[in-house]
Symmetry: C2
Subunit: 357 residues, 2 copies
């Protein structure tokens, strides 16, 4: 690994109380380039711009996929990653579907840990705070051939994140737009999936909602995801979430929620969630909660949902009665080393890793 | 318009007889940046790399769309564009669906003509030669928020193209993969659509085919596109092509073929093309031709197609008996000013445009 540290940290001038998510970057980044059929040596270097022409193949043909993950600092200053190997496995599933080279485990995991160790002073400590980490792979070849690129970059950049809190949101069940085709790339964290979702989301916002519950494109009768998150529905005391598929992202927070719910003895079922079932439960008063889960906010609680021209309010539950919030707290406590970790999900970032690289 | 010409043209060192498409770029490019809700002044500048961080939003969320178009030089050295306003209209349809700002007509059209005029020496003359032009819009904001970007770049780059000729290809009718969802972005020239198509295409190549005939994702019973082209089928003496939709690109070459076929009095029908109909026609001997059309190669003739485990050879027609090649020649003759243009499709690039900018 090539190590090129910055001579002037930006940490002193970073206002740790007053910033918005995703705008500020830690001092360093990891990059590793792929050319001639193989990955080169990974490099730690100062975060900043690189050179790309407008004929860069990602700008033209969109071969790009990413991961979202977090590092947490506990009261003793120890730094933990959360299930990082799941992100490693998933970025390569995405890469494969986009005909991009898979990144080696050594490059991904060592890059991640070296970056966390070198910039550990950047990792926020405190209620709801974390460092958001973005590994990504994208085509870097310059050219206008509509074919698989021959050059790529793997990069890891990271940005301090301040709070988990998000106000409860209203969601619109899609009866027209969709994010994913059968035989398509919905399960991948493909850059293009996000761009495709923005316009329908803007339309939902104009109707007074915050995001969309995506449904299957053929019939719009089944839930798929919500916004950029996986979705959970609670009817009476049973939790439902759709099974993952080629159309639904295999979310790591989703999987953790399922395991935590089982661990707590809750009745959780991974099965198709029909719009009709949710509407019926709403009518007969058995619909208790709908929520989304993802790395960025862990849980987004829904206060209302819309279907066609109707808007339905969801019950307001006390925090301790909410499965969404109970599971969220259990997960965050594990992530931040405030609770036992029976699943082995936390991964400590050793100090002075550079000496062993 | 800001004009920043290169002090050292690369044209002298460009081997005009020996190059491959999409690797070499003309001396200049056009760029125009969008920020604070508005487009800035367009700029002609030397083609080359610019600065983008790995946290660039296109690399992460894929907001990028493009156009493909060509300029042609006739025997007198006059330069023509082909239906450029159609590309202008379409890039903005793509931009709208991806929640990106639409580029003003003035920026697009004047940028295009100034670039063609300044670099007219780069435009190849001769059988099958042209300049391939790539206008594109992509997000340039640096940040990790999964939302619509606030900064964009419009760019025009261009690359000399040598020959229309492509050998007849074999295509696989998709019965699993798809490029487009109902309620999705298939009609847009969205970067992510191309990335999503590469892996299925690689699978088809492994089965001995060159590209895929995409079918609807819900049933795989109807033709949509072929590779990156629109598709035409000839049964007896009738030509069929699927109607455009949210899932099918509104191709300019497609539209030109339809108009030319009507002009020549051919029987052409824009209606859904069922896989079943094509298979039946193949069996009873009435299937004459299948071909793809697009800007890059104008026409790609198919020699065989595969469906499930079967491979079917298409008849070999004399050039003059082929509707595909007859229409291609008629179109190229118009594009290159070797025939009358009853449709008003050619647009002359005036000389010394800069003096009027």
């Amino acid at each position: 690994m090539i190590i090129q540290k910055t001579s002037s940290s930006r940490l002193e001038s970073f206002d740790q109380e007053n910033y918005s998510f995703g705008d500020h970057f830690i001092d360093h980044m990891i990059i590793c380039e792929y050319d001639n059929g193989k990955w080169g040596e990974a490099k730690l270097m100062p975060y900043g711009p690189l050179s790309f022409s407008p004929a860069n193949m990602t700008f033209n043909y969109g071969q790009a996929c990413f991961e979202g993950m977090k590092a947490y600092k506990d009261k003793d200053g120890q730094v933990f990653l959360f299930r990082p190997r799941k992100n490693f496995e998933r970025i390569n599933k995405s890469a494969k579907r986009l005909a991009m080279p898979e990144v080696p485990e050594e490059v991904f995991m060592k890059g991640l840990k070296v970056l966390m160790d070198v910039d550990r002073a950047w990792i926020p400590y405190g209620e709801g705070r974390s460092l958001y980490i973005r590994p990504l792979i994208f085509a870097t070849e310059e050219g206008l051939k509509a074919r698989v690129a021959h050059k790529y970059m793997f990069a890891i950049v990271a940005s301090p994140a301040k709070s988990y809190y998000t106000a409860p949101v209203s969601v619109k069940i899609s009866d027209y737009y969709s994010r994913s085709a059968s035989g398509g790339v919905g399960f991948a964290k493909a850059a293009g999936n996000y761009a495709a979702a923005f316009y329908p989301t803007q339309m939902a916002i104009e109707e007074g909602y915050d995001q969309i519950i995506w449904t299957d494109d053929a019939t719009h009768e089944y839930f798929e995801e919500s916004g950029t998150m996986n979705v959970f529905v609670r009817i009476n005391d049973t939790i439902y979430t759709p099974p993952t598929s080629e159309k639904i992202l295999d979310g790591i927070t989703r999987d953790s929620f399922i395991q935590l719910a089982k661990h707590k003895g809750l009745d959780i079922r991974v099965e198709p969630v029909a719009v009709k079932t949710v509407l019926e439960a709403q009518k007969n008063g058995t619909l208790k909660e709908i929520w989304g889960v993802g790395t960025a906010v862990v849980t987004s609680v829904f206060k209302a949902f819309g279907y066609k021209d109707q808007r339905f309010e969801l019950p307001v539950l006390a925090d301790e009665d909410s499965y969404a919030l109970t599971l969220k707290k259990a997960l965050v406590d594990i992530q931040t080393n405030q609770a036992e970790d029976p699943f082995g999900w936390r991964e400590l970032v050793e100090r002075n890793i550079l000496e062993t690289v």
